[in-house]
């Protein structure tokens, strides 16, 4: 009877690790490292291209001292294919391919279920008229949730279990070997296989309990994530726009100062070149912030969570898609945090007027 159970378990799972949800983690990590390296090279080259263009322009402008203007790329309300930079008055403006602001995408089919068993939030006296949230509250709610998802899935626990299970299995083999009588040695391999299967089933139980928790959590979080992602997108976009306006004003005033220095009598090439560098730095800071799109990132986070909800809901023991969905959601959450922090991290000259 137990032999049949062992055989069934072995057939069901095949190689033990093939059923593990974390078997892909090494491959994914290796791919992620390579992608990070490619991304770093791309960023490095992009930076060099900008620096070389600035140097070429600087050399020319120090010699010719033309009136300088902010280029058409320095528009804080458009998605242009050209970067924000200075340009000499009278030179043909670079061709601008205006990409219209994307229309709000039609909402895809709502994957969320109607929830009737919401977890009870702590009640307070102010429940009838709760105070408005602070911006940080939105990010904290998402942060708490991703942290809880990590606690539920806890990949390391499964890896520890697989390693330790092999040791326990070997110990069982040794135990059977030491058993008295003629059955000892002959029974050892069978006992080891049986224990492997038993441990594996315990391991599977561990995974399925976590999966059940994950199914319940993502089902309940589905609609709240939609609402919070939309709200966060608006709030972060507002912050980005305010920062862009400030950087635009700074750039305009640096350009104004540059043209004043140009027109001053006996201005040295060194002083004029330094003023060009100053204005170019403001243009770069503007460009860095403009490249962020918190609203699109928030929408991507919402979509990633929808995919996770569907993957978890349809999961039938095939964990590969589930792990991929979890990683995508985690990446989108990180991207959102990066978008939120970019505004604060871009450095520009503190003075508003040179």
């Amino acid at each position: 009877m137990w032999k049949a159970a062992v055989a069934a378990a072995a057939i069901a799972c095949g190689v033990q690790s093939a059923c593990s949800p974390y078997v892909f983690s090494e491959n994914v990590r290796a791919l992620s490292t390579k992608m990070a390296s490619i991304d770093a090279s791309y960023q490095d080259n992009a930076r060099k291209i900008v620096d070389e263009r600035h140097l070429g322009n600087r050399t020319l402008w120090v010699h010719e001292k033309p009136v300088l203007l902010t280029g058409p790329g320095c528009d804080f309300d458009a998605t242009y294919s050209i970067p924000c930079d200075l340009m000499a008055q009278g030179t043909p403006a670079p061709a601008v391919h205006v990409a219209a602001k994307p229309e709000p995408t039609a909402p895809s089919a709502n994957v969320c279920e109607t929830i009737t068993d919401l977890p009870s939030a702590p009640t307070t006296d102010t429940d009838k008229h709760p105070p408005p949230l602070r911006r940080a509250d939105l990010l904290r709610a998402l942060d708490n949730y991703t942290g809880a998802l990590a606690a539920i899935t806890k990949a390391q626990d499964r890896a520890d279990f697989d390693n330790a299970a092999a040791e326990v299995s070997a110990a069982v083999g040794a135990l059977a070997q030491s058993a008295p009588g003629p059955y000892g040695a002959a029974a050892a391999p069978v006992a080891e296989a049986s224990t492997n299967a038993a441990l594996w089933l315990v391991g599977q139980d561990l995974d399925y309990r976590r999966l059940h928790e994950l199914q319940n959590a993502t089902r309940i979080a589905c609609e709240p994530i939609h609402v919070l992602a939309d709200a966060l997108g608006v709030v972060l976009e507002e912050q980005r726009d305010a920062r862009l306006r400030g950087l635009f004003v700074l750039l305009v005033r640096k350009t104004e100062a540059l043209n004043r220095i140009r027109a001053a009598p006996r201005v040295t090439d060194e002083a004029y070149g330094a003023a060009i560098d100053d204005a170019e730095a403001a243009a770069d800071a503007f460009e860095t912030v403009r490249a962020t799109d918190p609203h699109a990132t928030a929408q991507a986070l919402r979509n990633a969570h929808d995919n996770l909800v569907v993957a978890v809901r349809n999961n039938n023991g095939e964990f590969a898609a589930l792990v991929a969905s979890l990683q995508t959601f985690d990446r989108q959450a990180n991207d959102l945090a990066t978008a939120a922090s970019t505004n604060a991290s871009v450095v520009s000259s503190p003075e508003k007027k040179s």
């Binding site: 809880a148 539920i152 561990l206 994530i225 608006v234």
Partner: protein, 119 residues
């Protein structure tokens, strides 16, 4: 066709208000870059006013929407519940500690039995 959400309506209203001011900001900025003479100060003052007006158009109302407050409360309660559940899930270490204890007892029993058999 589904109706835009309240959040989308607030966002669209903000974009419309900002677009009107942006047109003026662009025009003033172009003049300032090449400005000389006494109107420089006035132009800069006008630019500051326009930017301040734009900054004042905010969407803080989003943070006071009942659905947003309720969503944050639900997610926070859910996260607390998930974290608590995760702590109660059996960890690999707990399972193996139990298994190891049973095995050690088994080994001890087996050894005792073998000794008795030979003895």
């Amino acid at each position: 066709m589904s109706q835009p959400s309240t959040i989308d309506q607030l966002r669209n209203a903000r974009d419309t208000a900002l677009a009107a001011l942006k047109f003026s900001i662009d025009a003033i900025a172009k003049k300032i870059e090449v400005a000389t003479g006494p109107n420089e100060v006035a132009l800069n003052q006008r630019l500051d006013n326009l930017v301040n007006q734009s900054d004042a158009i905010e969407t803080a109302a989003v943070l006071a929407l009942p659905e947003v407050i309720a969503a944050a409360a639900t997610l926070n309660a859910l996260s607390a519940q998930m974290t608590k559940t995760a702590q109660q899930l059996p960890t690999a270490a707990n399972l193996l500690a139990t298994t190891a204890t049973v095995l050690a007892l088994g080994q001890q029993f087996s050894g005792t039995l073998a000794n008795a058999h030979h003895g």
